[in-house]
């Protein structure tokens, strides 16, 4: 890799140990992909997680005096005070979370603790070069916004944020952004849960690749695209996709494949999505202990929909009901009266966290219900039922899923 004089000096440790560590990681990645050089980025999103691997790296940078040179947002961890009031969080786990959050503050990151930073706290524009980790963020930023990012890890995104640079490889190069497989959508996608199942199916089928979705009749909305991104990049590794006429780099199917004809195509029918749905269930039905919504974080619109569904009802005794969202979204939800409606029904809206955090260990041996296959995938609880928001609310009120 060709490094500039400044980059060489950073690598030699002249600007501190923190910068050196970040540069070493970026150079290792650049060398692995035969990148010719580093290119500037305008922003980054580090999928911080409050786990030990995450703590090790961010503390190394913080102790070494590194500071983010470009806006760098952070993923959910958890509010230790709040969870200590709710349940018992193991002391060692809480200590890891506390240290992670402190270290991200020290490196000057945006303390968003949100997995949808691209909607509110750290928004790329079309054509920007960025480094965004997090399953929904990578494909959303590439496909829906048309900024360019690779499928970053938390640490490579943080290193890029600290350096203000990333190696030139992968999806930063136009030829690598062309479709690899056509997905002929024959399924009807009646509601937003349809996009969740479609994402799950496409990720499983494609693995690594850039799917091009054709045959979609109604334009998907923001939430449907977020869910498609999160699921396809969890069940598979879909960093980018095209929907001709919808996503920005593909006005036509020809643009999606950059003039080539698709080598492979997969058809997806209602029956395929039904099978995908059935495979997600680890419990057949019956009594549930809790409902977990907001993986990825619920938007204001989704919280509003939930409030509308639950207004005037009571969540069944013994069933917990949680919505995860960002601090900024909750503030607006409070103002709109959604928080009060959900709390009156017996539910809660919690910020800065995610089901994949150790603060939820209280549900480890229980049966949960969620509208998110990604939430189910983490397997932080005994059994899981995945169904639409409407079905989740209905089951929460009845105390069982039938």
């Amino acid at each position: 890799m060709n490094l500039t004089r400044e980059e060489e000096r950073i690598l030699a440790g002249e600007l501190g140990e923190g910068m050196k560590t970040a540069m070493e990681l970026l150079v290792a990645i650049g060398d692995a992909f035969d990148a010719e050089k580093m290119i500037p980025i305008s922003r980054a999103h580090a999928a911080s997680s409050g786990q030990e691997g995450d703590m090790y790296f961010v503390e190394l940078l913080a102790k070494g005096g590194a500071k983010c040179r470009v806006p760098t947002s952070t993923n959910p961890v958890y509010d230790i005070e709040l969870f200590h009031r709710l349940f018992k969080v193991p002391k060692e786990e809480a200590e890891v979370a506390r240290r992670v959050m402190e270290a991200y503050k020290k490196v000057g990151a945006i303390l968003s603790w949100s997995c949808l930073p691209y909607l509110t706290e750290n928004i790329p524009l079309y054509g920007e070069t960025v480094a965004f980790s997090e399953s929904s963020a990578t494909p959303y930023v590439n496909s829906v916004i048309g900024a360019t990012t690779n499928r970053e890890a938390a640490q490579s995104a943080l290193a890029a944020g600290v350096m203000g640079k990333t190696p030139l490889y992968g999806l930063h190069i136009k030829e690598n952004r062309k479709g690899t497989v056509q997905i002929k959508v024959e399924a009807s996608l009646k509601n937003s849960f349809g996009y969740t199942l479609l994402g799950q199916f496409v990720g499983e089928e494609v693995g690594y690749g850039i799917p091009v979705l054709t045959g979609i009749k109604k334009r998907p909305n923001t939430e449907e695209l977020i869910n498609f991104c999160a699921m396809s990049n969890t069940s598979g590794a879909v960093s980018m996709f095209h929907i001709p006429g919808v996503t920005v780099e593909a006005p036509t199917i020809k643009d999606a494949f950059q003039g080539d004809t698709p080598k492979e195509s997969i058809t997806v029918t209602n029956a395929d999505l039904q099978r995908t749905w059935e495979k997600l269930q680890s419990a057949r039905g019956g009594k549930i202990d809790f409902v977990m919504l907001g993986c990825p974080h619920y938007t204001l619109k989704q919280i509003g929909q939930t409030a509308e569904l639950i207004e005037g009802k009571k969540i069944h005794k013994g069933v917990a009901f949680w919505i995860c969202t960002s601090a900024t979204t909750r503030k607006l939800a409070e103002r709109m009266g959604y928080v009060e409606t959900v709390e009156k029904a017996g539910g809660g809206i919690v910020v800065d966290t995610c089901i994949d955090e150790p603060c939820w260990t209280v549900y480890r041996d229980q049966v949960g219900m969620t509208d998110s296959p990604k939430c189910a995938y983490y397997r932080r609880f005994k059994d899981v039922i995945v169904a639409s928001l409407e079905q989740c609310v209905e089951a929460a009120v009845k105390g069982e899923y039938t």
């Binding site: 070493e24 990681l25 290792a28 990645i29 060398d31 692995a32 992909f33 999928a47 997680s49 786990q51 030990e52 691997g53 995450d54 090790y56 790296f57 980790s133 399953s135 690779n150 499928r151 970053e152 890890a153 938390a154 640490q155 490579s156 992968g170 690594y208 990049n233 969890t234 590794a237 994949d356």
Partner: protein
């Protein structure tokens, strides 16, 4: 076959030198699905299910699963000194590179022969990522 060492060139991704017994997986690996206290693969449907990857020279096609769990998985193994001694892969992706850098495990790719034909479980293998050479000593 004569008792000769086979030397193959490789491409260094994460540096270091290590020597040990090869463990070959034809399926991608997620380190989160191994027991961090023993190194035993817990993923029931995996071809390495029940096998121990601790301190082996691990040969596999690529990593898999979300970045957070993959990195935490290898890092936890490394904290217990149970990470593979070195990793030889066919396809690299960013997440696997970051995992190897953090856990300080030498990682190489682009062997000048198909690693799945050249290396078999039980072979004695030396990975010199610095010089870009993998040496294979067939099990007698």
């Amino acid at each position: 076959m004569k008792n000769e060492d086979v030397k193959l060139r490789c491409h260094k991704i994460v540096g270091g030198v290590a020597e040990g017994e090869a463990l070959v997986s034809h399926e991608p690996i997620c380190f989160y699905l191994t027991d961090p206290k023993t190194g035993i693969v817990r993923e029931k449907t995996h071809e390495l299910a029940g096998k121990n990857l601790a301190n082996k020279i691990l040969v596999f096609p690529s990593g898999k699963a979300s970045s957070v769990v993959q990195i935490d998985g290898l890092f936890k193994l490394a904290m217990h000194s149970l990470a593979p001694k070195a990793m030889i892969v066919k396809d690299v992706e960013t997440v696997l590179i970051v995992s190897a850098v953090l856990a300080k495990v030498p990682l190489v790719d682009r062997l000048d022969a198909d690693p799945f034909e050249a290396i078999h479980t039980g072979d004695s293998v030396r990975v010199d990522a610095e010089k870009g050479i993998v040496t294979i000593r067939k099990q007698r």
